[in-house]
Amino acid sequence: MTVVEAMERLWPVEISPRTKYLRTIWAEMARVHSHLLWLGLLADAFGFESMFLQFWRIREKVLDLMEMTMGHRVIPSVNVVGGVRRDISPEQKKVVIDTLEIIRKESESLVKVVTNDYTVKARTVGVGVLTKEQAIALGCVGPVLRASGVSEDVRLTKYQAYGDLNYEPIVETAGDCYARTIVRARELFQSIDLQLEALAKLPEGEIAVKVKGNPPANEAVMRSEAPRGELLYYAKGNGTRNLERLKIRTPTFANLPSLLISLPGCELADVPVIVLAIDPCICCMER
């Protein structure tokens, strides 16, 4: 999605409001799936296997929603330069709203366990602490930065339909793994709210604009808030079929240096939890 929006800024192409809303809904759907995946993996990292599978069981419902509306379970493949390929029909909208309510209900009981359980707290509170100054100095992004007390989110730049939605970044101040868990858990519910709000406000109209010709000789930067943090695409065209340059900076690349501070001196058993707390995606980073 971000690469498509970077390309749209090259021309520039004005996309329809419905496209913006649909992209927002799908981006938030991906966030719900990613955060549920992460919460499950966190439980797995300190050996809470039953919790891990409970979260993934809920995640399956989001994946079904994604398959129903986008076609694929994880990778959207709906965005094209100028718009989107799929639309959410009124029947699908109803199913999405109902399923999101079920997801919220089921997640609430589990998140209560994650945030209050003694064993979870024993493994996460005070582990891998990153202060506000350190987080800013190392250029952290996303939930890691917000858990250290910095109110920073690319969604505040009001790209896509975020300008019309009621959005406030979720901030915690402790900076440890527990704070990162709380941020992600609260973002999960916020994301569901944003989807419901966007679905309620979904305007009518075209879903795609036709874009003709090669990318013009121009350059564009697009930033978006991926579930793991800020994702940056830089595209430079030269008027030919192929781009001259495409630079991608993924959130894991920005968050990885924080391990330099949080890892030294920790207990060996805490290493999986601390590494997982930045939500690493090594395949995204290695570019």
Partner: protein, 126 residues
């Protein structure tokens, strides 16, 4: 542990979370990206699908009039389905069944030019 108890009790009295897959198959969603199929009679071997495919899952040999499709490279992004000028590629909503070996589908396409030339030459001689 006490906090987890309601979930545990609920799980005791609810059904399975999984299906007995090969026996019980969930109906595919409408327009889900299952897999793609080729209609050999419609294919004109223009090569647009091979050019646009991001994962190089389609190759075309014009001399042999063959289209080679590698299903395991295909990411079902649907680009070829949209780009095909003769609608020779269809999207099937059902997922491809699992296999033991990676197959290569070889399609004998009709081809456009030869067919046209034949027709033209046919009309000329007549």
């Amino acid at each position: 542990m006490p906090l987890m108890l309601p979930t545990v009790l609920k799980n005791l009295f609810t059904g399975y979370a999984t299906r007995l897959y090969p026996i019980q198959v969930r109906e595919p969603f409408d327009k889900a990206r299952g897999h793609i199929t080729f209609n050999d009679d419609k294919c004109i071997l223009c090569g647009i699908c091979a050019l646009r495919c991001p994962s190089a899952a389609i190759t075309i040999e014009k001399e042999k009039k063959e289209l080679h499709f590698y299903p395991f490279r295909c990411i079902v992004c649907e680009v070829c389905v949209h780009e095909c000028p003769t609608d020779a590629i269809d999207l099937i909503f059902k997922w491809r069944p699992s296999v033991y070996e990676k197959p290569v589908e070889v399609h004998q396409a009709r081809g456009k030019r030869k067919g046209k030339e034949d027709k033209e030459s046919g009309t000329k001689t007549e």
